[in-house]
C-alpha cells in the first residue's frame, strides 16, 4: 500500500507540480557516495533562490550533515555540506508565499544556510526542521523512506483535494458500467425496448410514402380499384396504429426498466459508499469536508442514476438512429439523402462548440451565484450580529447588488442559447429547403424522377434528425458529468482505511482494562511527532487524569487508546495484547467516550440512549438514565423518552445533552472509558449533577479523563501531565503538589489564582 501511495504521489507531482518526483538519482548517488558514504535520511526542495526567483536547490539530510545541491544548469550541481553539529538553531520566517529557513551557527557568525521555498515545499521542510530541532534537543527521530516522505509532502495538498489522478475517464466509465452487471436481464430488456422504439420510429414515414405512391395516387389515377385501395389504405392505417402502440409500449418498458435499473445501481453505489465511509479512519475525515462527502453519497449518485437510466441508452440509440436515418434516406434517394446527411457532422460540431463556448459563461454565473450564497450563509446564521449592529439595510443592499449581478450573468447565458438554437434549427431547415429546391423540379417531371410518396417519406424522416443530433452534440458534456461523479464516488471507495484488522484478530474476552503505552510515538503528518516516546501502565479500574496545555497531545493519547489511529512507533497493549492485534469492532465495543460537545443523533431520546445497544430493555434504559441524572428531566419532556432531540440534539440544553450521552455510555457498559472535557461546557449547578453521574459511570472501569479544571480530577488515582507530546509528570494529586517546581503544581496554582 505504501509503494502504491508513493507511486500515486509521484504521478501527482509529475502531472501537477512541474518539479522532479524525487531527488534526481544521479545527484542522490553523488551525495550518498560523498562524505563517508552516508545514507539519505530526508530531503526537500528549496524552489526559490535568494532573489525569490524559481530555482532548484535540494536540501538533503544525512546522519551527520545537511547537503545543499543547487542546480547550475546543464545537469550540473553546486554541492556543499553543512555539518549538523555546527547548526545551533533553526529559524523559520514565514511569509505570504515564501518561507525563509535560516540555519544558525555560532552567535555573530554568518548563518550556515539560508533557504527559501514556496508553500508547496513547506511540509517537506517542516519534516527537515523537526528532525534538526529534535537533534538539537538531544533526541533522534527515526525517519522512513526519504522518497516517500518527500513525495507525500509535495503531493498531499493535491491528493487531499483529488485522490485519483485524473485522466482515467474511460476506466471510470468502464467501472461504472460494471455496476450494471447484476442487472443484465433488465438492461438487455431495456436496451431491446429502446432499440424497438428506434426501429419502429422509422416505419411511419415509410408507411406514409407507401400509402401515397401505392394506394392513393394509383386509386386517383384509376389504376387501382377503389375496393383494393380502400383495403390497402385501412391496412396501412392499422399498421400505423400498431406501430405507434408498439412504440409506446416499448417506451413504457424502456423508461420504467432503465429508470428502475438506474435507481438500483445508484442504491448499490450509495450503500457501498456509506458502508465504506464507516470503515474509513478519522484521518480521512479530517482531510475531507463533510459537505463534499455528503454530496458524493447524494448528488453524485443521483447524477450517475441519470446517466445510467437515460444517458447510456440515449447516446447509443441516437448513434443508431442517425446511422439508420442516414441509411434510409440514402436508400430512398441518394442525392437528396446526401443533402441531409452531409451537414450532420457539422451540426454536431456546432452544438459541441456551443457547449464549449457557453462553459465560461456558466463558470462566471456559478462564481457570481456563490457570491449570493455567501451572503446568505454569512447573514442567516449571523442574524443576531446583523441586528445588533443595525446592519440590515446594508445587508439587503449587498444581497440586492449580488442578486442583480447574477441575474445579469444568467440572462447573458439565456441570450446566447436562445440565439444559438433557433439559428441551428434555421440551418437544419435550410437543408430541408435545399431538399425542396432539388426535389420540386423532379416532382414536376424532371430527371431523375421522384415520386410524391418517396418525397413525403423523406420529409418526415428529416424531422427525426434533430433529436439525435442534439444528444450527440452533448455527448462530451454528458460523459464529462458522469465520469466526474464516478471519479468522486470511486475516490472514496478506493481509499483504504488506515486502521484495519490484523489477519487473525484477537478477541479479548473479557476485557479487564489494563492499558499500557510502551514508548509510543505518533504523528498525523510526515515525520512530525505529536506523541513522543510516551510510556505508562494503567491498571484495570484506575482513573487517570490527563492534564496539560491545549495542543499538548492529551486528546491524541485517548484517540490512540480507542485505536482511531495506529501508532507510528512503540506499542499500545490492552491486557498485554498489542491493540493492533485486537479485532477492531469487538475492542471498540469495550471503549466508551463522553465528549465535551456530546453528539446526539436525530431521533428520540430513547434511540440515542440505546445507540450502542438497540435491543436494550426499557428497564435498562431507565436505570442508565437515572444513573446519569437524566431520568428526571426526560420525564418532564412532553413526549418523555420518545421526545425527538432534533439535529445534533439541538432541542436539549448542553447539560441535558451531556447527561443523555452519559446514559448512553452507562448502557454501553465499556471497560475503558474516555471523558474528554465532559463538564467544561456546562454551568456550575449542572456540572454538579453531571459530576455525580460521571462518578457512577466510572465506577469499576479504567478511565482516562481530560480536564482543564484540575479540581474535577482530585479523585483521580493518578494524574498524567502531558506537554508537547511527552509525559512529563505522573503521580497522585498530592504527590504532584509536593514537587516544588512541578508543572502540575504550577498549573494548579495558576488556576487557584484565577478562581
Amino acid at each position: 500500500m505504501d509503494s502504491e501511495l508513493r507511486h500515486l504521489d509521484e504521478q501527482i507531482i509529475a502531472r501537477y507540480a512541474n518539479q522532479p518526483p524525487r531527488l534526481p538519482p544521479e545527484l542522490r548517488r553523488r551525495i550518498e557516495a560523498g562524505g563517508g558514504a552516508a545514507p539519505v535520511l530526508l530531503y526537500a526542495l528549496a524552489d526559490l533562490d535568494a532573489d525569490l526567483r524559481l530555482a532548484e536547490t535540494w536540501v538533503v539530510l544525512r546522519p551527520h550533515d545537511l547537503v545543499l545541491a543547487r542546480a547550475v544548469g546543464h545537469g550540473d550541481w553546486e554541492i556543499r555540506s553543512v555539518a549538523r553539529d555546527r547548526i545551533t538553531a533553526v529559524r523559520e520566517a514565514p511569509g505570504l508565499s515564501a518561507t525563509t529557513l535560516t540555519l544558525l551557527g555560532a552567535p555573530a557568525d554568518p548563518p550556515r544556510a539560508v533557504l527559501r521555498y514556496t508553500q508547496r515545499q513547506r511540509r517537506g521542510f517542516e519534516n527537515l526542521r523537526f528532525v534538526l530541532e529534535e537533534r538539537l534537543a538531544g533526541r533522534d527521530v527515526p525517519t522512513g523512506d526519504a522518497d516517500r516522505e518527500y513525495a507525500e509532502a509535495v503531493a498531499r495538498p493535491v491528493r487531499d483535494t483529488q485522490a485519483l489522478v485524473a485522466g482515467r475517464r474511460a476506466a471510470a466509465l468502464r467501472r461504472l458500467l460494471g455496476y450494471l452487471r447484476p442487472y443484465r436481464r433488465q438492461l438487455a430488456l431495456g436496451l431491446g425496448a429502446a432499440a424497438a422504439i428506434t426501429l419502429v420510429s422509422l416505419a411511419p414515414p415509410y408507411l406514409a410514402g407507401y400509402l401515397l405512391d401505392r394506394v392513393i395516387r394509383p386509386a386517383q389515377a384509376g389504376t387501382l380499384s377503389l375496393e383494393r385501395a380502400s383495403l390497402a389504405g385501412w391496412l396501412a392505417v392499422a399498421a400505423m396504429a400498431v406501430v405507434y402502440l408498439i412504440r409506446q409500449a416499448a417506451a413504457v418498458v424502456r423508461l420504467r426498466l432503465m429508470s428502475v435499473l438506474g435507481e438500483w445501481v445508484a442504491r448499490d453505489l450509495r450503500a457501498e459508499l456509506y458502508a465504506h465511509l464507516q470503515r474509513l479512519s478519522l484521518a480521512f475525515y479530517s482531510r475531507k469536508k463533510t459537505g463534499s462527502l455528503i454530496t458524493r453519497v447524494t448528488a453524485d449518485t443521483d447524477r450517475l442514476w441519470e446517466f445510467l437510466a437515460f444517458g447510456v441508452v440515449d447516446v447509443s440509440l441516437s448513434l443508431v438512429m442517425l446511422a439508420g436515418l442516414g441509411a434510409v434516406l440514402l436508400s430512398l434517394d441518394w442525392r437528396l439523402g446526401l443533402v441531409m446527411v452531409l451537414p450532420v457532422p457539422a451540426f454536431c460540431w456546432l452544438i459541441f462548440r456551443h457547449g464549449e463556448g457557453i462553459n465560461p459563461l456558466f463558470l462566471r454565473g456559478w462564481r457570481k451565484w456563490s457570491r449570493v450564497t455567501d451572503v446568505l450563509s454569512d447573514t442567516i446564521p449571523g442574524i443576531r450580529v446583523v441586528r445588533a449592529f443595525n446592519q440590515e439595510a446594508r445587508e439587503v443592499r449587498r444581497f440586492a447588488e449580488r442578486n442583480a449581478d447574477v441575474t445579469e450573468e444568467f440572462n447573458r447565458i439565456h441570450r446566447l442559447w436562445t440565439t444559438f438554437w433557433p439559428l441551428l434549427m434555421l440551418g437544419v431547415h435550410g437543408t430541408t429547403v435545399v431538399v425542396w429546391a432539388l426535389a420540386v423540379p423532379r416532382l414536376l417531371g424532371g430527371e431523375p424522377a421522384l415520386s410524391m410518396g418517396t418525397f413525403v417519406s423523406f420529409l418526415l424522416y428529416t424531422t427525426m434528425f434533430v433529436g439525435p443530433i442534439e444528444i450527440i452534440g452533448q455527448i462530451a458534456r454528458t460523459m464529462n458529468r458522469a465520469t466526474t461523479s464516478a471519479h468522486r464516488v470511486f475516490e472514496v471507495l478506493d481509499t483504504e482505511p488506515d486502521v484495519r484488522d490484523a489477519p487473525d484478530p484477537v478477541r479479548l474476552s473479557p476485557v479487564r482494562g489494563r492499558v499500557s503505552f510502551e514508548n509510543v510515538t505518533f504523528g498525523y503528518d510526515g515525520v512530525r511527532q505529536v506523541i513522543r516516546g510516551v510510556s505508562f501502565d494503567v491498571a484495570p479500574g484506575e482513573l487517570i487524569g490527563l492534564v496539560g496545555a491545549s495542543g499538548g497531545g492529551k486528546s491524541t493519547i485517548v484517540s490512540l487508546i480507542a485505536r482511531f489511529y495506529d501508532v507510528t512507533g512503540g506499542a499500545i497493549r490492552i491486557d498485554g495484547v498489542d491493540v493492533r492485534r485486537l479485532e477492531i469492532g469487538h475492542f471498540r465495543r469495550q471503549v466508551g467516550m463522553v465528549l465535551q460537545d456530546p453528539y446526539l443523533f436525530h431521533g428520540s431520546v430513547l434511540e440515542n440512549i440505546r445507540y450502542g445497544h438497540p435491543e436494550a430493555a426499557f428497564e435498562a434504559v431507565v436505570v442508565a438514565a437515572r444513573a446519569a441524572n437524566a431520568h428526571e428531566f426526560i420525564c418532564k419532556l412532553e413526549h418523555g423518552y420518545d421526545t425527538l432531540v432534533g439535529e445534533r440534539g439541538h432541542t436539549l440544553s448542553g447539560g441535558e445533552r451531556q447527561r443523555v450521552s452519559i446514559a448512553r455510555a452507562i448502557l454501553h457498559d465499556p471497560r475503558i472509558l474516555v471523558l474528554d472535557e465532559a463538564t467544561s461546557s456546562v454551568d456550575t449547578e449542572t456540572e454538579g449533577e453531571i459530576q455525580e453521574a460521571l462518578e457512577r459511570l466510572i465506577a469499576g472501569r479504567t478511565v482516562f479523563a481530560i480536564a482543564h479544571r484540575l479540581s474535577t480530577l482530585r479523585r483521580a488515582s493518578r494524574l498524567f501531565v502531558v506537554e508537547d507530546g511527552r509525559l512529563v509528570e505522573a503521580g497522585t494529586h498530592h504527590e504532584l503538589l509536593q514537587r516544588p517546581r512541578g508543572r502540575y503544581r504550577r498549573l494548579y496554582e495558576l488556576q487557584l489564582q484565577l478562581a
Binding site: 526567483r53 520566517a93 511569509g95 557568525d109 548563518p111 508553500q119 483535494t161 463558470l363
Partner: protein
C-alpha cells in the same frame, strides 16, 4: 501593547517599553529590532497585506509575539528603513502572474499553467475556490498548497490570458 479605546488611539508600549526603534540586518542573516536597549531577532508581518501593504508592520519575535508595530516606515531612520524593506520583500512575496497559458478543469481541480515574473509555474485550485479581487486592484489566486498568485491588472494581459480569465474577472 495597550489599546486605549476612549482616546481612539493605539498607544504602543510593547514589552521593551517605548523608545526609538532601530532595525538592522545582522551577520546571522536575521533582522534584529532594538528598542530601549533590548534587541531581538524579529520577522515582519504586514497587518494589512492588501489594503495598506506599506504601513502597519508587525515585528514579531521568536515566540510570534509582537515586539513592535511600525505604523509608518517613514518614521524610522534610513538604515532601519532599508533593513525593513529587505525583510518585507521576502515576507510579502507572492507570484506575479504575467500570462495565463492554460486553464483546465479536472475532477475537483482547476489546473492552471501560468508564466510569472519568477518563472513558469503550474498550480491547482479547488473548483469552488474563486480568485479574489484585492483592495488595491488585481486578482489573487490561492492554490491548494497555499501559494498565492497575484495578477496586478488582468485587463493588461495578452488577449488569450484575458479570454481564459474572463469568467473570473468582474
Amino acid at each position: 501593547m495597550v489599546a486605549t479605546l476612549a482616546g481612539r488611539r493605539l498607544v504602543e508600549a510593547g514589552p521593551a517599553g517605548s523608545g526609538a526603534l532601530i532595525l538592522e540586518h545582522r551577520p546571522d542573516g536575521r533582522l534584529w529590532a532594538i528598542r530601549a536597549g533590548e534587541a531581538r531577532p524579529v520577522v515582519v508581518r504586514r497587518c494589512f497585506p492588501w489594503s495598506e501593504p506599506a504601513r502597519y508592520l508587525s515585528l514579531r519575535d521568536e515566540d510570534d509575539r509582537e515586539f513592535a508595530l511600525v505604523r509608518d516606515p517613514g518614521d524610522l531612520d534610513a538604515d532601519s528603513q532599508q533593513a525593513l524593506g529587505a525583510a518585507l520583500v521576502a515576507a510579502g512575496f507572492v507570484f506575479a502572474v504575467t500570462r495565463v497559458v492554460a486553464l483546465d478543469e479536472e475532477v475537483e481541480l482547476r489546473h492552471w499553467r501560468v508564466e510569472t515574473r519568477q518563472g513558469p509555474r503550474s498550480f491547482q485550485t479547488r473548483l469552488d475556490d474563486w480568485p479574489r479581487a484585492v483592495p488595491r486592484g488585481g486578482l489573487l489566486i490561492r492554490d491548494v498548497a497555499g501559494d498565492l498568485y497575484h495578477i496586478a491588472d488582468p485587463a493588461r494581459l495578452d488577449q488569450r490570458s484575458r479570454e481564459l480569465l474572463w469568467a473570473f474577472v468582474d
